[in-house]
Amino acid sequence: MLGKMGTNGIVQGNFFQWANWDSWIEEILCDLVGLVSFGPSFVAAQCNLLPSINLNTYGFGPRHPSSAWRINLILRGATILGFDSLPPEGHACRDKIQRFWDKMHLSRKTDSWCDVLTDAQLSDALAGVSQLLHQHTPAGYKHPDADVVWKLVRSLEQGIPPVGFELTAEGVPAYEDRDFREILYAGWIASVQQNAQPFQILNRLCEHAIMQQSAINIQMRHS
């Protein structure tokens, strides 16, 4: 990659002078905010969307960073934030979560030029963005524990919109406030499993669940 750029007169020494850094930093900051706001569903959406804009993900110009850079940044950020840590061995959802993150990490580009920030820089940036967003609930994403994820994924696999509702054996409805980002995360996990429902069905189930969950939340506020 560096060699290809060199033929166009771009070398590491003058790279950032050539780039319009004000434009680039805007997109990178949006990625960091997206990551802290939406969590793993943002990672999955970007890993699917960005290659569709630019197939080999290396294309870039003075106004836009390459998609490969952005994908690596988002994936590295997800690891720093602990999104891809797995539940303990033997947990019912461990393999499913692992399969999802393995698939996401396949999008990572190994060219060293694709890692735009060091881990220390990225950690600092994410800490600053997190501190800001988590002051304004619910702007910051809170990663659910694996039991919650498992319940939501299981619902999707049964073709049921995943919401925070159960009926006890005594006939008493029990509710939980399930954030729409948790529902979307479960949807992405379900979509990469073997024998998964078609993506458009999972998408509709998640959309329906988000609508149902808002009704549950209204009920919870009034009871």
């Binding site: 049964q158 073709g159 509702f165 149902q212 549950i216 209204i218």
Partner: protein, 212 residues
């Protein structure tokens, strides 16, 4: 002999995960032998539009198929999204298709029957048709709401407007039931116009014009 499920049977089957009515927002939704259903957040209103009348021939795949035909059939419905805490006025004589808030999965040995809640029926709100929910069905239930009264009715998403009772089936045949479920509404997310001519083409005069 088929029998209606009692409240305790409904609770047991829902809590076992065999029967799904989700979410139930209030224990009061569980009646002695039924579950109240709430209105969802979409309404499809029938409009006269370009169609002079409803003609089964328009629905025949022999005559009309593909995207254009589907679009033609959908044109007579205007879609409204109704967020929670907002409302929709159903005027006298009007018909809307509205989904239930609840997602329903009926196991293969049960059949659901949907009816209006009597308190709403007394105000003129009618849920006239499509009362049978087949075994194996999964999805929202489409409510066909008509105002038979003389004054408009304000409908809000989340209101309990219908109820579903469940009946056990005698000698259900899982294989044949599954075949029958390749039906037109399996896994429905929102209301849509029905395929009124499905498998009835021999009885339809396809030369009959539908527009004047």
């Amino acid at each position: 002999m088929s029998a209606a499920l009692s409240r305790s049977s409904i609770i047991k089957r829902i809590s076992d995960g065999d029967l799904v009515v989700s979410p139930i927002l209030d224990a009061k939704q569980l009646g002695p032998s039924s579950v109240d259903l709430r209105m969802g957040t979409v309404a499809l209103m029938s409009r006269a539009g370009a169609q002079s009348h409803v003609n089964p021939a328009d629905y025949s795949p022999r005559v009309n198929s593909g995207h254009a035909a589907a679009q033609l059939r959908q044109q007579k419905h205007e879609r409204f999204d109704i967020p929670f805490t907002s409302s929709f006025l159903l005027h006298p004589g009007s018909l809307i298709l509205a989904p239930t808030l609840e997602w329903v999965v009926v196991p293969s040995d049960l059949q659901g029957v949907v009816t209006a809640r009597s308190s709403w029926a007394r105000e003129g709100l009618n849920i006239a048709t499509a009362t049978i929910v087949n075994p194996g069905y999964r999805g929202i239930i489409t409510l066909e709401l008509a105002n038979f009264g003389e004054i408009p009715i304000r409908l809000c998403p989340g209101l309990r407007i219908a109820q579903i009772a469940f009946y056990s089936l005698e000698q259900h045949d899982k294989v044949k039931d599954a075949e029958g479920l390749q039906g037109q509404f399996d896994m429905s997310f929102e209301p849509k116009a029905g395929e009124i001519a499905a498998k009835d083409e021999p009885f339809i005069n396809i030369g009959m014009p539908s527009r004047i």
